[in-house]
Each structure stands twice: as C-alpha cells, then as structure tokens.
Symmetry: C2
Subunit: 319 residues, 2 copies
Amino acid sequence: MSQKEKYAVGVDLGGTNIKVGIVSHDGKIINKISLDTRADEGPNIVINQIKKGIYALLKNNKLLIQGIGIGSPGTVSTKKGTVENPPNLPGWGKVNLGKIINKEFDIKTKVENDANAAAIGEMIFGAGKNLDSFVMVTLGTGVGGGIILNRKLFKGEFGAAGEIGHITIDVNGQHCNCGSYGCIETFLGNQYIIKRVQEELPKNKTSKIWELINQDLNLVTPKIIQQALLTNDSYAKDIVHSLGGYLGAGLASVANCLDIGKFIIGGGVAGFGPPLILSTQETISHRVLKPLGKRIKVISAKLKNDAGIKGASALAFYK
Amino acid sequence: MSQKEKYAVGVDLGGTNIKVGIVSHDGKIINKISLDTRADEGPNIVINQIKKGIYALLKNNKLLIQGIGIGSPGTVSTKKGTVENPPNLPGWGKVNLGKIINKEFDIKTKVENDANAAAIGEMIFGAGKNLDSFVMVTLGTGVGGGIILNRKLFKGEFGAAGEIGHITIDVNGQHCNCGSYGCIETFLGNQYIIKRVQEELPKNKTSKIWELINQDLNLVTPKIIQQALLTNDSYAKDIVHSLGGYLGAGLASVANCLDIGKFIIGGGVAGFGPPLILSTQETISHRVLKPLGKRIKVISAKLKNDAGIKGASALAFYK
C-alpha cells in the first residue's frame, strides 16, 4: 500500500449531530453521513448512532481503512479511550468509547477531546502543516484549545492540557459556565457575545445589526454581526476589534507561559475573519514579553466545512 | 566515585551580589562566598567577579567538582549558554557566559534563567523531590516561574517558557514593567505590594503596620507586613489573603493550560507563609476546571537560605 492509499474514518461527536466521514491521508472527504445524536436518550443510544454511522459508511467501502478517530466533547483519556462527563451528553459519566468502537469494528480507534482533534487536524491537513508548534483556539458555544509543541499534542500531566477558554483575563469578571470568573470564554463564547450585543445595541441604533435583526434583539447571532461587519458597520467593527483585544490578552498569557508564538483560530466565531485575526495578533504582540513579540503570528484555521470529521480522522493519521 | 561524593559549584548571579558555593549532591553547602556584582561597570567586570568567586572556592578544594551551574536573570539559552539582556545588569546585550566559564575552568558549565534554576533546585533538593510535575513561582522584586513536567524543565518552543509573572489577570489593570497590563507581577511584585499598602494604610490607621513604620510610609516593606501578620493584624491578614486570591487566579489559568496541579511558592514574599499559601490554594481549587480541582496543592519552597546557590548547583546535578 503506497502513502497515497491511506484512509481513515473520522467521527465528530456533537450534542446535536454525529458526523461520520471517510477521509483520505491528504484530508479529502470521500464519503460522509450525518445522524441525530439523540443525546437525551443516554449513552447507549448515542453509541448505537455512532456505530450506525460507521456501518453505513463501511458497507460498500473498498478502501483500506487504517483507523477510526473520534473527536468528543468532555474530558478524554487518550490512553484509555475514555470520555468523561461530556457537556451536552447527559448521563455519560465515564464511558470507554474507544474500546467499544474498537471491539465493534476491529479497527484501531483513537478518541480525543474535540479541540485537541481540531489542533491535530490543522497540523496534519491545515494551517499548521508547516508549523512546529502552535496553539489552536476553537471559538464557538464554548472556547476550546489544543496545544501542539514540536509536532506533538501537548497533554500536560494527565492529558487535560490546553483549556485555553478558561484562562482568566478579568479576575473580577463575569461568572463563567466552568465556575470561575472572567475566563476568555466569558468574552468570546457565543452566548456571551450575543448577550453583550443585546445590551449594547439599544445605544447603537444606527448600526446595521439593528436593521438586520428587524429590531428584534432575540435575533442577534454571531452570523448577523458577521453580516454587518461585511457592510463595514462601525459598531460591528468595534465589537470584533474588542473581541480580538480580549482574546489577544489571554493568548499573550499563553505565549508567556508556553513560549509558543503561533496561534490558529477556528470555529464559528472565527468567521469574523481578518478583523478578528488582526486585532488578536496586534494585542498579543503588544502584550507578550519583548523577545517573543517578533515571533507572534495569528492565522485562520484552514479546515472549515467538515473540520470536525477531518480533525477526528487526523487522529488516525497522527502517531 | 560513589553517588555520595558528587559536588557542584553553584553561581547565583544577582544585580547586587554574586553568591558562589560548593554544594553536595544532597544539597548541603560545603563552602560559599559572596562578592559585589559591580553591575554598573559592565559585563567584563561582572564576569571577572564570577571567575574570582569560583577561583576563591576552588583554591584549596579537594572535592571532585562535576559541574558548574549558573542561575542568571534575563533570557537564557541553555543550549548555547548565552544570557540576553538581563535586567539590572546594564550593557550585557547577549553574552555567552556558559562558554566563557567553561573555558576558564575546564569544568562542564550550565546556565539557566534564575527562576528555572529555582524550579530545578526544588526538584532535586527541595519540595519537588517527590513530585512528577509542578510549577515553581518565585515572588520577589519580580515574579518568576519555572515549569517541571514529568521531572523535566518545560522549555516551550525556544526555551523561554514559564514566565508566570506575566500572565494577565486583569486585562485593564495597571501597567507592568514588561509593557503589558494587569500581569500577576502588578499584584504580587514587591514594589506593587508596597505601593498598594502605602495607598491603603492611611485608611487603616489601627493596623499594626502603621505602628511598625512609625507612621512613615516610606518604611513599608513586605518584611514589615510579615511582622504585622505575625501579630494577627487584621489589615495585614486582608492584604495577604487578597494577594493569594490574585496569585491563585493566575495560577488557575496556568493549571487549566498545562494540566499541572502542584505549585511551589518561593522567594521573599513567600515569607507571608501559610496565610498566603492557603489563600492561593483555595483560590486555584475554586477556579480551575472541576476535574483538576481535587489535584491542586500549593506548598512552600523548601530551599530558603542560599536557595539561589543551591538552585544553580542543581543544574549540574540535573540531566
């Protein structure tokens, strides 16, 4: 089998959907399927849905599959393959998902936290292909992170390293879902951005956002802010600029702590594009210790559609 | 030569004094000397002072010296042995201190940032002897740090990792010497503590501190606060409790980022003792992500007197 004939199955386990795909070693999706997670029905049903998805893809498959990778929310022990208390998947406790899937299909299976899978995906297929070390940040409902140091996922002492979203930038700030205060996530998480805009918008009635939501504050979403940004709306620009300032302040702490200067930003909110990337890069460069300043580079994630499937499949390609 | 007969020279290069000692493999100082750094006279004079100190110790020495370790301020490249722009040592630029000392004495020489040397010292001789991984924090004029991961100094991509003092905890906080804002150092650095107490004390005239300084605010020092603390002074207790809160908030970010749960606190301000340690531990435990909470442990550094010499000598014992 030549290098070019390698394929893997990637499973993107989310709270709403399970996305499964066959991915080639160079990151192309050959085939994919999406199923309801049925999270409310508990772990057995969810695991059955995962199996169903993999069976559907493998049914008429002729390609040689070298492994299955699963990107999962929650605390994951890669060594044991266990998933612990994934948020949005009620009733899980601790489940040995790796063992279950490996046993079912007799294919080598790796499980990783979804943000770590995203980092490995960018390293193998994406914007991190030519980087030795970088920090991956995923901006969505939550703010996740994964650290690549010298082409290896940095796991810390017990495998839970890289929780970038829960770095405090305001010691007396807002309460965070995690129990702490003023975490990056309380500035950049979807719900927090929406809440902020809902509060500020009545004082910014000339903003394009106001028009896009038909003056109904319930319709504020990051997508809407993005649309306004594309029309050069000054309030939308201000928001995104300030979000980059907050993210950059937190990432400067990460850079000072880890001595890593490259950052890849992915996830939905990363759709704010260059204005967010630039503001983040400027802030980190100004805030880090002088010798690090020149090395700071913030770039957009390259895996966009099906990033979850690709990241998960990359686990099988990553040694 | 048996394990018990190993000795090393440790050089603690400070802005005011250079302390040199011969240290046994189990951390006992056999002999030591202190010289003026003569920092104002530039690098050549300072290097001569270092040589003079080592020569003085080696003169009548019969012990087998297996290496020289130097703990230096500034950015240190351990591989190359270079010291770059050490604060308080004017005119240095970049100096290959390791090579110079190695050439002079023909003894294997290792140079490390002083906070990293402190971490290695605690690992080899001190409170980190039985810990796989921990974060060392040195509280003094500045706030330094060193990260030990699986019994190795964690260096990051280019060797400058562990700058714990420059983790932001208040994005809009005070300007820090490093150029950023609201770093841990702007709460815990000596000068910042003194300034804070000078500002607050006029509103706390019943405090024992007020009496200890004879109402002369210029006399406020961490030592004075420590003395007041020993008399159970409630204002001194409040300060130290809040310092632990700030330090803990920053270290919770470090724990979430690195997945390391043990912290060793050293340096002068660590003299606040158990009240500081306890407040720091409580804060980290409350702020970190749930699965990490149970693993948090904050302890005092064990190397007190001559910690600088011992930490530097440990570089020679550390592989």
